[in-house]
């Protein structure tokens, strides 16, 4: 564990990313304390620039506090990012494991199914799904999960294919362990590193997808979110830049921090690769 942190900390960008990410998480947790009451409430005159009327980041066209929107939006963004990633992992790991471990016909069927999803532009499919199921937080999470599992399935399948032929897995077969015990006990723990790295990047993508959906007005109408803030400020961007710029910065920083953390995780889990890269630079 110690060497894990040492390798992680060697990548300075990853440490910065982790700090930003922790700040965003803290903001999300403390939102009801910092900004009690609904972020939808009118608390000031419309179009107040940042710093005026006690509005740290200004108010929007209906007099709502942009800072409160960002704080409460952080909860939605992180929640959607985390839950949809877990759901996508559940689908992707299961299918990838089945394809990689069983091989043969099962592999063919699962991979053709996966390719079917990969050939459809994912954002269009997400819009379609949300539109069909009416925009709620559940349907958004579902839509994001459905469009983001195929890469997981491919990575897991590749790992399983190579691990399946390793001698320790064959030894487990010879010991007479059940298939499930081999998959869960022998193969999956050794395939975790790429899955962990991939999932940190998937959270980032999911946050972007959710923002994009909200921007198009397909967000949950009862939930404040960053994409919605940008979408509603878009029409007045020339006279009130702060309405869209600050939520945009929030998205930018969160996604950047997740990517940095993902890279740091990758370095920490594959220290040899990281060192080689350091040597080449």
């Amino acid at each position: 564990m110690n060497s894990f942190w040492r390798n992680f900390a060697r990548n300075h960008g990853a440490v910065v990313g982790l700090v930003i990410l922790l700040l965003v998480i803290a903001l999300a947790i403390l939102a009801p304390v910092l900004y009690p009451g609904s972020p939808w409430d009118m608390v000031a005159a419309p179009f107040a620039p940042p710093g005026e009327m006690g509005m740290l980041l200004g108010s929007d066209s209906l007099g709502r506090d942009v800072a409160a929107g960002i704080a409460h939006g952080a909860r939605v963004s992180l929640l959607v990012g985390a839950v949809s990633t877990v759901a996508a992992l559940a689908i992707g790991v299961t299918l990838g494991a089945v394809a990689g471990y069983l091989g043969g016909m099962a592999d063919e069927v699962v991979m053709r199914f996966t390719e079917f999803f990969q050939t459809i532009p994912s954002f269009v499919l997400a819009i379609l799904l949300v539109a069909i199921f009416t925009p709620t937080i559940q349907s958004i999470v579902l839509a994001i999960a459905v469009v983001s599992w195929p890469p997981v399935a491919r990575v897991v399948r590749a790992e399983f294919l190579s691990l399946r032929s390793r001698e320790f897995v064959q030894a487990a077969e010879v010991l007479g362990k059940s298939r499930l015990a081999i998959v869960l006990g022998d193969i999956l723990p050794n395939a975790l590193s790429p899955i962990v790295v991939l999932s940190s990047l998937m959270v980032a993508t999911a946050i972007l997808l959710e923002s994009a959906l909200s921007f198009l007005g397909l967000g949950d109408p009862n939930m404040m979110s960053w994409g919605f803030l940008i979408g509603s400020g878009r029409s007045v961007i020339r006279i009130a830049w702060w309405m869209s710029v600050f939520p945009g910065i929030a998205i930018f920083l969160t996604v950047l921090s997740l990517n940095l953390v993902g890279e740091g995780l990758s370095d920490a889990l594959n220290p040899r690769l990281a060192r080689n890269r350091g040597g080449a630079a």
């Binding site: 064959q170 030894a171 010879v174 007479g176 015990a181 006990g185 050794n190």
Partner: protein
Amino acid sequence: MTRLLTVENLTVGLPRGADRPNAVEELSLHLDAGEILCVVGESGSGKSITANTVMGLLPKGLPVRSGRITFEGDSLLDLSAEALRERRGSRMAMVFQEPMTALNPLMRVGDQIAEALAVHGKGSEAKARVPELLSAVNLPDPAAIARMHPFRLSGGQRQRVMIAMALALEPALLIADEPTTALDVTTQMQILRLIREIQERKGMGVMFITHDFGVVAEIADRVAVMQHGRIVEQGTAAEILNAPQHPYTRALIAAVPHGAAPERQAILPAPVLEMKGVTKTYQRGGWFGARAVVKAVHAADFTLNKGETLGLVGESGSGKSTLARCVVRLVEPERGEILFHGADLRPLSRQGWLPYRKRIQMVFQDPYASLNPRRSVGRAITEGPVTHGVPPAEARARALELLRLVRLDESAMERFPHEFSGGQRQRIGLARALAMQPELLIADEPVSALDVSVQAQVLDLLAEIRQRLGLTMLFITHDLRVAAQICDRIAVMQHGAIVEQGPTAEVFGAPKHPYTRALLDSIPGRGWTPPVLTESA
């Protein structure tokens, strides 16, 4: 004779945190023109580092701390990079261990050799020299080979190309770093003869790095033995091989499998395992394009009696591992009978196989890949019995007993595989198999990834355990000396078929099949019998 290369008091450091301060320490050796110096040692003894230092190929993390290297009168360590580059290839050349990765896969073989010439300003001669060089390394049809890409050549052919490339500019010094280790035994013999022949013809000095005393006996004029970065003994081949002085050399030579089978009690015909007409073919392709069919195992028949050890020998790709894996159903053969105490195992389902898992166990080849890196040794040994319903406490007690049996400390239980050396891991793998209390043990090249002294320990342990537990064993190996030492009977495989089988003494003493004869002729150093060394220090 002219002194070609002198290395004096060479010390090369290791990065901090390594197991010793220096990779090579106070090393001195010399090489004359026209002689072959074998540098022998086990893995990690610093023999490759020595070769790389001479060539100026040391990785950045390894600094030369002191010493002089003189080559044809110039001090190599003081030369500029450019001056060194001029000598590399033209005056001194190197052949590497792994022929599969040492050639550029995207370039035709002839072009790669021509490039070696062009780099040293002799590109104009390439057209004439390339076929000449390829035929000098005994490759058939040089013109055709020159136009091929490396992937179309076999390992032995690639190594010949590497040698041709190294010889292109007629260097005075050839450094060969384990050039035959990755090759099959018959190919190895051809390459050894080739190096010897070219060396005699051109009067080169050859520094030949190896871990195999058989190869030393085959090729060396002089020998330097390395241990922990130091040369412990140096002398002529005859001196070192037949009258070693240093305790380490004596231990190494004592560990060379002597190929003589100990006295054994007679084996009664009580079949434990009978294979009848087992066949496994692999098919590639399909859908579009032609199907390629490979007969991995073809109509294999053999019988294994109680308490007997049958050796399955053959070169890589002969199907011996596939056949062994058929027995434990890691590979499913499409035809034939696998009779275990008279019951056919082949048609059984996964469930139906379960009771036999306890009775048939396997030890794997690669000690670094055969243990789950994320599982403690204790769990690795106990999980088999626990899966089959043995109470965990009892399994644990048995695991402790087994650790003692394979001569590991009890503290090993809580540790993880990466904390152990290759030989120790192989013993853990053995304990894991024995934990099931099997009757039949399948050992798939259990010692081929180990250093010779460790190999001897594991072989002794296997023999002792087999004796004590009355195990029946199927022993797969490519090393005929090992087979001769441990097996009661031998089955020789070639191209997926068993071409000859019989009692060990008979097969090795009076081989009937031409392939068996070829194999026996290719054992490196077959003319040399390791001296019987009484004490081992």
